[in-house]
């Protein structure tokens, strides 16, 4: 049993089931991120943990206590909303202590708790202001303060950074991470931003269409995606997924992929026992950063394949240059060093780190497990 258990939980609105048998167990101190595209049911699941939405079937437990039907205020959780949901008629200080007041905690204790949280979040000078007179970042801090002051078992965040501008979002992301490391609290965090998910989490649940597609550490999700959806959703630029055919070359399985001019190249598999797929079609997944020039190829890799292909477009992005080519009839992006000598229209010798490549069953879209 974990600290927070989501046990075979479903959610239906009338006849429509929007969450199907979700099964997640969160350990104490974990930072679980629910990530997925809009409408996949992330908020619904979070609201069910909070008690704001009823559970249609299954069970949610916190510290082994069944939470089904328990009022939100009795679950010892705190939630930070996307819109912050600060009470507009109260000062920052009153906002932070409202929950304590409702739980009947005497004023001296409330004030003490408020001071501690304000100091932690560096919002002491804002305590007498109304939320209307705060900037987006300050509101965000106050909203977190309101959650922190209760010292809850589980923190729930619903896209807390999506209303901030890009720079502030990165700053607050770091701040949340620091806070988690310092306090060691258990957090469930909803976002549709895969970078937020990768950087913040100790574990990620990738959701799509009401299903948890994969649950794992960021590294597992990134290196061994369960299916094509997870592979292309996580990572930026997205993983290249191209059609290929499995063949045998000197007794070893290779992926045969079409180049820009219709000729083919063979990329030898390494970690897959792909011989069973000999002669069959697969989808080959290659991350952009594993396609490089020869010099930049990963020295630790035991399986670097080589291919010469035509460059279609180059996009310098400062630290890297993104190179687009046609592979298997699709646009494929390679992430090159910025000083690589790449020009559109030129044929270029690429190195592909096949140790990192993954293969998918084109029918089920599931990863072919070695």
């Amino acid at each position: 049993m974990g600290f927070l258990d989501i046990d075979n939980t479903t959610k239906s609105y009338g006849a429509v089931e929007v969450l199907h048998k979700v099964d997640i167990s969160v350990e104490k101190g974990e930072f679980l991120v629910l990530v997925g595209p809009s409408g996949c049911g992330k908020s619904t699941l979070l609201n069910m943990i909070a008690g704001l939405e009823e559970i249609s079937s299954g069970e949610i437990r916190i510290k082994d206590q069944v939470m089904n039907g328990v009022h939100p205020s009795k679950r010892n959780i705190a939630m930070v909303f996307q819109s912050y949901a600060l009470y507009p008629n109260m000062t920052v200080g009153q906002n932070i202590t409202f929950g304590l007041e409702m739980h009947g905690i005497p004023k001296p204790e409330r004030d003490k708790a408020m001071k501690e949280v304000a100091e932690l979040l560096q919002i002491e000078q804002l305590l007498d202001r109304k939320p209307g007179a705060l900037s987006g970042g300050q509101r965000q801090r106050v909203a977190m303060g309101r959650a922190l002051v209760r010292d809850p078992d589980v923190f729930l965040f619903d896209e807390p950074l999506s209303n901030l501008d890009a720079k502030l979002r990165v700053d607050m992301r770091t701040e949340i991470k620091k806070l988690h490391q310092k306090l060691g609290t258990t957090i469930v965090y909803v976002t549709h931003d895969q970078i937020e998910a990768m950087t913040l989490s100790t574990r990620i649940a990738v959701m799509y269409g009401g299903y948890v597609q994969q649950l794992g550490t960021p590294q597992e999700i990134y290196d061994s995606p369960a299916n094509i959806f997870v592979a292309t959703f996580m990572g930026s630029p997205a993983m290249n997924v191209v059609p290929a055919k499995v063949a045998m070359d000197a007794g070893k399985p290779v992926a045969v992929v079409a180049l820009h001019d219709g000729t083919t190249t063979s990329l030898p598999f390494s970690q897959y026992n792909m011989a069973a797929w000999n002669g069959r079609d697969i989808m080959l997944g290659i991350r952009p950063e594993t396609i490089t020039d020869e010099d930049a190829a990963d020295r630790n890799s035991a399986n670097i394949a080589h291919m010469t292909n035509r460059i279609v477009v180059t996009e310098p992005a400062g630290s890297d240059t993104f190179v687009t080519m046609t592979l298997g009839g699709k646009d494929v992006i390679a992430r090159m060093r910025s000083d690589a000598d790449v020009r559109p229209g030129a044929d270029f010798p690429f190195a592909v780190n096949m140790e990192k490549a993954v293969a998918f069953d084109p029918e089920t879209e599931m990863r072919i497990v070695p």
């Binding site: 704001l52 205020s73 959780i77 939630m79 996307q82 009470y87 008629n89 409202f98 929950g99």
Partner: protein, 293 residues
């Protein structure tokens, strides 16, 4: 927005602007005329009116018609003036406005933040109440008041007005709360606030503008109501409007037009006052919700 206004203002020539102001002034005068007639004639002796010249300023200024209308004019059978009826009206209007506004706010809160099966139908039915003509309910209402033992009392009138006003106040508050962020209510739930605490501590403090709309609307309607007052009031609960009618209609003696004018202004004063005090919020409240933010 402001740029566009400035732009048109600059382009509109001086001639057309003068024309616009002239027309506006004309309309203003036209609308002010009745008030002017009422005010000047209420401070004249009677013979100045009966001698013709309704439009003239008073030659001999006097406040006697006001004093008489307030405290000694013949109303019905007693020479009491409008004073007791004024207090009757106050005793009816204040509770009726307060109760209907509070109930409307509660209804709006429940209909938007505690949705339940059939809530839209219920709201539709309440809206329907806004369109029921007064005349239709007169007889059933009289019977109900009789059954409840409230016939002829101020509280009977309060009940009638609350029932009639609740459709409007619910409409106002529901639409206002519909755009009030539900996340705030959810946050308060997690914070441990109960049904009434959320209403009292979170929603009501932000309801100023719409409360003013509701109060002005209800106050004006209830204060100006004649039909319910005439139908359901007893001798000692008649409101101002009914008394004013009795004053003007009383057939004994000469018609004291100056007193009638003064009485009419007295009857209109409270609504005027409410509008002057809270009118700014009225417009603001009506606009709220239509424009976000």
């Amino acid at each position: 927005m402001s740029v566009a206004t400035q732009d048109t203002a600059i382009r509109t020539g001086r001639v057309s602007r003068t024309l616009i102001y002239l027309v506006l002034l004309l309309f203003a005068l036209f609308y002010m005329l009745p008030l002017y007639v009422m005010v000047v004639n209420s401070v004249k002796p009677l013979d100045e009116i009966t001698g013709g010249g309704m439009m003239n300023l008073p030659q001999a200024f006097t406040l006697d018609p006001w004093a008489k209308a307030w405290s000694s004019a013949q109303i019905g059978v007693d020479p009491t003036g409008l004073k007791p009826y004024f207090w009757n009206s106050i005793k009816m209007v204040v509770p009726a406005v307060a109760i209907s506004t509070v109930l409307g706010a509660l209804n709006g809160y429940v209909l938007t933040k505690w949705r339940f099966r059939g809530d839209t139908i219920l709201f539709g039915l309440m809206l329907f109440a806004c369109f029921i003509p007064f005349q239709i309910v007169l007889i059933p209402m009289a019977r109900m008041l009789g059954l409840m033992g409230l016939a002829g009392t101020t509280w009977g009138l309060v009940l009638v007005h609350v029932v009639y006003g609740i459709g409007f106040t619910t409409l106002y508050f529901r639409n206002y709360y519909a755009v009030f962020p539900t996340e705030l209510v959810r946050a308060a739930q997690i914070d441990g606030a109960g049904f009434f605490q959320i209403f009292w501590r979170i929603l009501l403090p932000s309801s100023g503008p719409i409360a003013v709309v509701s109060i002005i609307w209800q106050f004006t309607n209830i204060w100006n109501d004649f039909l319910f007052g005439a139908s359901f009031a007893g001798a000692d609960s008649q409101p101002m409007t009914v008394a004013l009618n009795n004053l003007v209609q009383s057939s004994t003696g000469v018609k004291e037009y100056n007193v009638h004018f003064a009485g009419a202004i007295l009857a209109a004063l409270p609504t005027l006052l409410v509008y002057i005090v809270a009118g700014r919020y009225f417009v603001r409240g009506l606009m709220a919700g239509s424009v976000k933010g």
